[in-house]
Subunit: 152 residues, 4 copies
């Protein structure tokens, strides 16, 4: 079995930025519409240019149409013209950090195949894992003969 | 077979707003990331307070992870705090107006069960259909005992 | 607003077949894996050649990965080589018949754009609606220049 | 960066079964309905009791409604009452083995969190990876307080 490297540094950003990010990603949970799971998830990503963009899970009576926090946040960033990510942070209402689901790993991978994912618990616990470690040997554009750089 | 009422008026907005909307929703196609289908779709919705919010389809090598224009635009609006919609407009690269897919009808239905959908072709053709006519007898929160108003 | 024709006949099949279908689609709920919604849905479709094929909703901790009863049943039929449907029946644990969600209407539409949908309540209530009335003005293969008959 | 263990043994099954599996999973591609991607994928899984169950990707004009081979095959197995998997095999039209997308990893994880995934190229190349290595630190039922064993 592989051992995924779990990091605790936040080398991509300063201590000040880290504190601000943590506050923002916990606040992001308030954007959640989750009457079905009652499980709020928040996401805040930082673009290469240093902007913070937040999302949350948006659920639907047809469960298959639910969109997770990571995907709403990343969609918003893409629509605003950001295609380079510095990091993605997520939070929920649990003390333990949670990880992105497989759908989100796949969705993120198209735009940030090696982006660091910052995972925050409600009481300060923090872990960092790189996307390529969360979705190793990924299926991606190359498998379909597409170079995504031509389209970004 | 039912006959869905297709309207050609734009009673929700002024002529000036209509022209601006048309321009914005055609521009929205430029936000599209669609290397797989090569079929760009744009969406611009207007909130009750009069703001224009645009989205486009964001595709993925795993086709099931693609998110349509209507859903990215609506997600963005929801994340920005708008939960009341005046209308949703869509466009593509075809002369004939296109309609939303079933996934999007379902996603929109949770927040705008009776919203008008404005559909624009590339050369000025315009049609309006109400969501309840695009997704009649819909499956929704009520089927699961949820009152979405409590959560918005 | 359109008025969708809701039928109560079962002209596609005999009284005997109707009774068997009702029993099978209520039984199909037992195939459900729905620990999240606790809302069991069953689906039984009849192929043109008269076979009954059943499915149920299969849920996932990542709600977006849930697959509804209609889609699991139709997938199974397709994998078994059936590409012509006589009808699709659905059931749930509620007395009132429920309708398919928008995702399923879209998925069914690719293979059965005019298939009758039989909807059963738990205590004998029955309604029939045609797919083209549940998903009028649908987005389909033609919009992408594809003739699905070449691929079936 | 983690190094995912890629295996080349097929210790779960005999040499005879391996040959049969390879033939079946290559044949499974013929079940594919993929007019959009024109990328056929086949999947054959073996249940604990030794049955072979095959699936393929079933696409839709609304790309988000596409269902991959792994999910159609696993759905079929679940509907037929199999909830314990021995292994999952996949194939495509490419010489190099392909890996499951993130959606499928997530869907499989609910029922086979540690199942071996056999990946076959068209010309005999073979690799094996365990699901927990393809979706490490997964989001699952436990995160929502659900014990899936109660529901299977
Ligand atoms: Zn997710
Ligand atoms: Zn759509
Ligand atoms: Zn459905
Ligand atoms: Zn997949």
């Amino acid at each position: 079995m592989s051992t995924v490297p779990i990091h605790t540094d936040h080398d991509e950003i300063s201590a000040e930025e880290f504190d601000l990010l943590q506050q923002k990603v916990l606040d992001a949970r308030n954007l959640s519409y989750s009457p079905y799971s009652k499980f709020r998830v928040g996401c805040t990503l930082m673009t290469e240019s240093g902007e913070y963009i937040s999302g949350a899970n948006l659920e639907n009576a047809a469960y298959g149409a639910c969109i997770c926090a990571e995907r709403t946040a990343l969609s918003k960033a893409l629509l605003e013209g950001h295609r380079k990510l510095k990091l993605i942070a997520i939070s929920s209402d649990s003390e333990e950090p949670i990880t992105p689901c497989g759908i989100c790993r796949q969705f993120i991978r198209e735009f940030g195949p090696s982006v660091p994912v910052y995972m925050f618990g409600t009481k300060g616990k923090f872990q960092k894992v790189y996307l390529q470690d969360l979705l190793p040997l990924s299926f991606g554009p190359e498998n379909l003969g597409i170079d995504p750089e031509h389209y970004k």
